[in-house]
Amino acid sequence: MFARRPRPHVFIIAEDPNAQSAASRGVTEGALDPHRARRLERARARIGMCAVLFGCVFAGLAARLTTLSLEAPDPAALRVAAAPRHAERAEILDRNGAILATNLPTRALDVAGREVWDAAETARELSAVLPRIDERKLAAALGAGRYVEAARDLTPEERDAVFALGLPGVHFRDRLKRYFPHRDVAAHVVGHVSPGFGGTPEGVMGLERRLDAEKRRAGRPLVSSIDLQAQQAVEAELARAVDKNHAKAGWAVILKVATGEVIASASYPDFDPNAPGAVPADARRNRVTYDTYEMGSAFKAVTAAAALDAGVSDETTIYDARKPLRVADRQIRDYRGKRKLMTLGDVLRYSSNIGIAQVAADLGVDRQRAALGALGLFDPLAIELAETQSPRGPRKWGPVEAATISYGHGFSVTPLHLAAAFAAVVGDGTYRAPTYLRVDGAVEGAPVFSDKTAIVMRRLLRGVVTDGTATKAEAAGYFPIGKTSTADKPFAGGYDRSRRLASFIGAFPGHAPDYVALVSLDEPTPVEGTFGFATAGWNAAPAFSRMVSRVAPLLSVMPVSEGEAYAAFAFPSLGARRAAVETPEPRRKPPGRTPRASADAAPTLQ
């Protein structure tokens, strides 16, 4: 288009006004001097080059314009621009997807002191619409020219009312509010937040704190192991038990045996995470994971399992509990002792300190320590909550300590420690570390006891419920097993017999435990219907029973018939039974401790 074309010089000169003058002067094309002709030629070339240049520029601009007009916007940029601010903090869900903690978009009311016309009038009108605003303080702050956050979490109606005032210097600011729809349910697990720097919530405790540690954001909710319905039922029953028995506090936990997942975890008194400051700090303490206690006789189950597994005891071994046992300088007694010879089942059934101390002596310090260590009772739990605590044991572990620890004295653990250890005792003998996050799939765990030990322990612990100290722990259709524990609380220099910790740790269904449950009441008192007793069999055991009866259906645990349960207690599987028939195991003689002898009776299954 811009190619130079040859043209007759005459024509060009005729077109050129200068040419007219040249013609008038009688000068023709052919008469131009060569120097002038070269200059003309050069000028033409320059004009052509400029035209080409301008053309290129216009073409470039047009092309760019076209591409800009036709170019699709970057979806990612749009997404970022449209992303709502309130979605920044990840939600916390229960194991079934129910919301435990979420974000609510709200608006805060800010007032710029330098923009208001009349500080006193502004404060007066705002406090008239929002009574929670302190008129005097606001007026003083605005009078000083400060920028004030006058109110948070305005409702749409409040915002409209403030807007209608038409006051200058009033600004509405979008704000995040962490919201816990179930209030005090699972409060100690979910935790709570503080406003944080710049109004961005920061987790203070529980899974909220875990969120910050993981820097988890929207779109990746934290799925806890908690079952909301089971949690609510556990909390309701725990509160009922604490109130009924006038206890100082209480806690309960339900653990899934196969995975170590914490299905429910409750501490009472509790708090509303939406207003954590409304209660004393004591109510915000997660007693299940953060407090250590001497859990008492529940440890007898651990000691018995270790002894069974080590082969130093079996269901027929007899222990002398007719009189107090002297270990070094310590006299070990039973609470309301039966004063008789006992099998291992009787020792658990009647919660004999004397009997279990003999079991521990047979077991030996090393094997006792090894068993407790394998059950995770020496280390803080590796859970997802920051509220963890190390167990506290004796500095020196001699025969006296072995005896007292066998029945849970002189060794402090968190309730969750005990629940996890108990799950290994009655499950399949495998220890699985507890977790507060949902687990999809199987958890292998660390084998501690043999499967056979766990089977025998279930039988022995069933006897505690049917004929022992925990008859009130029965739950129809679930044949629970377990152990009561009433521990005097330690104080400097000894134990206070007037302050007790009453607990029941058990499992359901007893013949094939799916879940372990622990209920504890801190300093319960005798009440009507307990005949002056405040021991675990009268308060914690009934609470356990009610808990299991309510929670088991929620967890889809179907009740079974007595025949089915008995068969499972006696013969956990047909294969196991066949093996027992084909290769009967010779009855062991336990290491001699007079007057110990094998009982002639069949294995105790009561």
């Binding site: 004009i47 916007p73 919301i99 039988r459 309510r550 179907m558 025949g563 089915e564 006696a570």
Partner: protein, 128 residues
Amino acid sequence: MRIIMFVLCALLAAAAAGRYQAEVQVKQKRAEIRTLQADKAREAREIQILRAEIAYLESPERLERIARENTALKPVTGAQLMTADDFAVALGGPAADAPAFAAPAPTRRRSPGAVPQAVAMVDASTTP
């Protein structure tokens, strides 16, 4: 040369007009995007509020309180559950096959739920 200049001027005018038109369209589209984004954000806020409200309304604690205040319903217990097989039996159907090693009916009175001694005796009797 004049034609070229005319052409260039025409192109310039067309480009200017096209650019103006494109700019207007871009502004309109941007306004639409802003509106859509605002709508989307508002919808997201409302959805979030509704989700939170649903979570509160479905809170087991709240439902239990309402049920207690307004009905005579109580929490379900295990005693109220039965399997489909049990249900069929309850309606008069045939019982499911009993396991081969089912324990015989207890012959003596015992505590509810206690593992009967009879089971142990059966076990012992099958041991050579």
